[in-house]
């Protein structure tokens, strides 16, 4: 009996923190790709993963168990008096969503700029590999 209790406790502990562990792993995967990979497009992919890990972290701190999505259920469309029953605990925290929604679109715009830079570098040096570019730069 005690064993089942322990296992349940363990599962709840893992479930409570597993999300954060995943974000740390994703963050490290992205960081590793940015530091150690040789190819520029690989670095850009790593940057995207890094960015989404941060976004995931922000969104997950707004999550509330057994709450509804942050769109208020309303009886009348106009809502002068119908809002007496709205309780904040019933709805998921919308603030991180707002901050991160814009971050995603800005992220794709910066992805475009990064890819444009990669194209420019390829035109200049004929390669996307970092060490070959360094070699060409030294020999100049």
């Amino acid at each position: 009996m005690e064993l089942i209790e322990t296992v349940k406790h363990m599962f709840l502990f893992i479930a409570a923190k597993a999300n954060y562990w995943t974000y740390v792993i994703l963050l490290m995967v992205g960081l590793y790709a940015m530091i150690a990979k040789n190819n520029l497009v690989k670095k850009i992919v790593g940057m995207t993963i890094f960015q989404t890990a941060v976004i995931l972290f922000y969104v997950s701190i707004g999550y509330k168990k057994d709450a509804s999505i942050p769109i208020v259920m309303h009886g009348s469309g106009h809502g002068h008096a119908a809002d007496a029953a709205i309780r904040a605990a019933d709805y998921i925290n919308p603030l991180p969503h707002v901050l991160m929604l814009t971050a995603i679109v800005v992220g794709v715009a910066t992805l475009g700029v990064a890819l444009a830079l990669a194209i420019k570098v390829y035109k200049e040096y004929g390669s996307l590999e970092e060490d070959e570019i360094h070699k060409q730069l030294r020999s100049r």
């Binding site: 923190k17 509330k64 904040a88 925290n93 919308p94 901050l99 929604l101």
Partner: protein
């Protein structure tokens, strides 16, 4: 470099994993992030703005400054892409033409290109015959993607959606047109300069709505000031002001997505590409 990278990520990851135990549990309703500011937004969104979707009301009203500068950032990204890759069209040394009745491909060098001709059509250097099935399906779908995108922009108040999503959908419809046909047809329909102008116009719609409030004697971005113009009460005026701002965001995002795609897919030539 690889060893150094591995050491770095092991150290960083170990530290971060160690400190996750101090974070609030996943799904904790009483975490610090959910207790200070956001209850106000949830409880007052209907009486302040008459917008049930809290995300939209916070995005365009409570935190309007933030979104305004995010839109500017997106426009700047488009501009950066353009300036990085820009090539004068004069540098394109040769062009390919196809003689339609016989199907012969000609390569013409120099500056004197036939501009408009009945039998010669301009083609890419990597020309492939267009596929009937893909062309037809895309032609049908583009209209529906656009009507769906406009629906998403207009109904951001009541369901998920809004300017950013609708803008990306609109941009995707034009990108689909460029992929299914060829890039030059898309540029002829919705040119590069038009894209730049639309991007600026989107930001202008946003700032203009905000400045109109200033001109009507209230604070910047306080849409209640629009009530006498729209002929509604002050709360519905906020709702309509949010809609106008969302339209601005949608126009800016659409134009910038298309602009970046043109630049990337033609590597700056704005002429031929993927």
């Amino acid at each position: 470099m690889k060893i150094l990278g591995k050491i770095t990520i092991l150290l960083c990851g170990g530290l971060l994993l160690f400190f996750t135990s101090d974070f609030p549990d996943f799904g904790d309703a009483n975490s610090p992030a959910s207790t200070h500011l956001s209850p106000y937004f949830i409880e007052h969104t209907l009486e302040d703005t008459a917008v049930p979707n809290v995300v939209t009301s916070v995005l365009a009203d409570y935190r309007g400054y933030d979104t305004m500068f995010e839109t500017t950032v997106i426009l700047t990204a488009g501009l950066a892409c353009f300036l990085l890759l820009k090539i004068p069209t004069k540098e394109v040394k040769q062009r390919y033409y196809r003689h339609e009745p016989t199907g012969v491909t000609l390569r013409i060098e120099g500056d004197r290109y036939p501009d408009k001709s009945a039998v010669f059509t301009r083609i890419d250097s990597t020309w492939v015959p267009s596929d009937m099935i893909i062309n037809f399906t895309c032609r049908i779908l583009i209209s529906f993607i656009q009507i769906f995108a406009l629906y998403v922009v207009a109904h951001g108040h009541h369901s998920p959606g809004g300017g950013f999503q609708g803008g990306v959908l609109l941009g995707a419809s034009v990108i689909l047109f460029a992929i299914s046909g060829n890039l030059r047809a898309a540029i002829k329909q919705f040119g590069e300069k038009t894209a730049a102008l639309f991007g600026a116009a989107g930001v202008f719609i946003y700032v203009g709505t905000a400045a109109l409030c200033l001109a009507l004697g209230e604070n910047f971005l306080n849409y209640s000031a629009l009530a006498p113009l729209l002929g509604t009460d002050r709360i519905m005026a906020r709702s309509h002001g949010i809609l106008s701002v969302e339209i601005g965001v949608a126009v800016a995002v659409m134009a910038v997505m298309i602009w970046i795609y043109y630049n990337l897919s033609s590597a700056g030539k704005q002429d031929e590409g993927l």
